[in-house]
Symmetry: C2
Subunit: 154 residues, 2 copies
DNA sequence: GTACATGCAAAGTCTTTGCCGCCGG
DNA sequence: CCGGCGGCAAAGACTTTGCATGTAC
């Protein structure tokens, strides 16, 4: 069961900005995409070849708990990370899993629609669009024109 | 990478409704919640003690590919399943992970807001509300009144 | 020194898969 | 027979964690 983990209530707000953490943060901003831990690991390894994947996971967790980055729990199985901590929505390619920001303003009022209609205390919401990215769309068209119609796009 | 899996384009639309599949379907409807595979497994085991978890996973996959049930990819790590195949939204308790339907009609038009603003071909969207279920809310209040303020609600 | 970080490997969680025997048409 | 199906265990993908060592104040 994955609960919002706030295990360490006394976590130091001024945690040490170690070299590893700084590089992770830099790479995340540089990538300007929505990478998963593995991708960040690969990027960081170029400047810190001896960093471990465990450290990357640990620090992504720390950084997101302190609000320096945002952890995205998308529909898929992997968590992704976003340097942009503002609330916003995403689009995910159902074929290649690429994630972009959705060009749609954050809907501040949707949650109000549930007031009185549910006994949950709503605190947040998450909206994710699904579709095909331009590249996969193109491949899908090519493929369809060849008469093949099902399964993952090549 | 989890892509919408449609691996078997020739899957028989009239798959055999075996005893295992029937019981899985029945239990899912009976539960009327949004159980994960493990919970379904436990429920099904009462009538079919020798069923395996692998079979449950396989059949949930088959049933959802044939549109008999809906596979939910919520924010968390586990997939959940819903007997109601109509498009609708959910609320998830951030403390105990309970999932309810959200009392909000499906927004047929949100996707249109992206037309022209993205080069993705949007095909779907998913909206999930987060909050505390009544039980966890109550516990949180009790706990807060004792002066403890952080971490997972007991 | 002390407290927190890191590297490494092991373990954990959830899900998928290979194999083989079984069952129904 | 044949093809799909189920049980079982092993493997896979992703993430967390225990432990000894390092490092910064």
């Amino acid at each position: 069961m994955q609960v919002t983990k706030n295990r360490n209530p006394n976590m130091n707000q001024n945690m040490r900005m170690t070299r590893q953490r700084r590089v992770i943060l830099e790479e995340l901003k540089k990538l300007d995409s929505h990478p998963n831990a593995e991708e960040i690991y690969e990027a960081v390894r170029e400047s810190l070849p001896r960093i471990s994947l465990g450290t990357v996971y640990r620090n992504l967790e720390v950084l997101s708990e302190l609000g320096k980055i945002q952890k995205l729990e998308m529909g898929g199985t992997q968590k992704r990370f976003d340097w942009d901590t503002r609330k916003h929505y995403h689009i995910r390619c159902i074929n290649c899993d690429r994630v972009d920001n959705a060009p749609l303003g954050f809907m501040k009022n949707v949650e109000q629609a549930l007031y009185g209609a549910t006994d949950f205390t709503i605190t947040d919401h998450r909206l994710e669009f699904l579709g095909l990215c331009p590249l996969c769309m193109e491949k899908a068209i090519e493929r369809d024109s060849l008469g093949k119609t099902a399964g993952k796009v090549a």
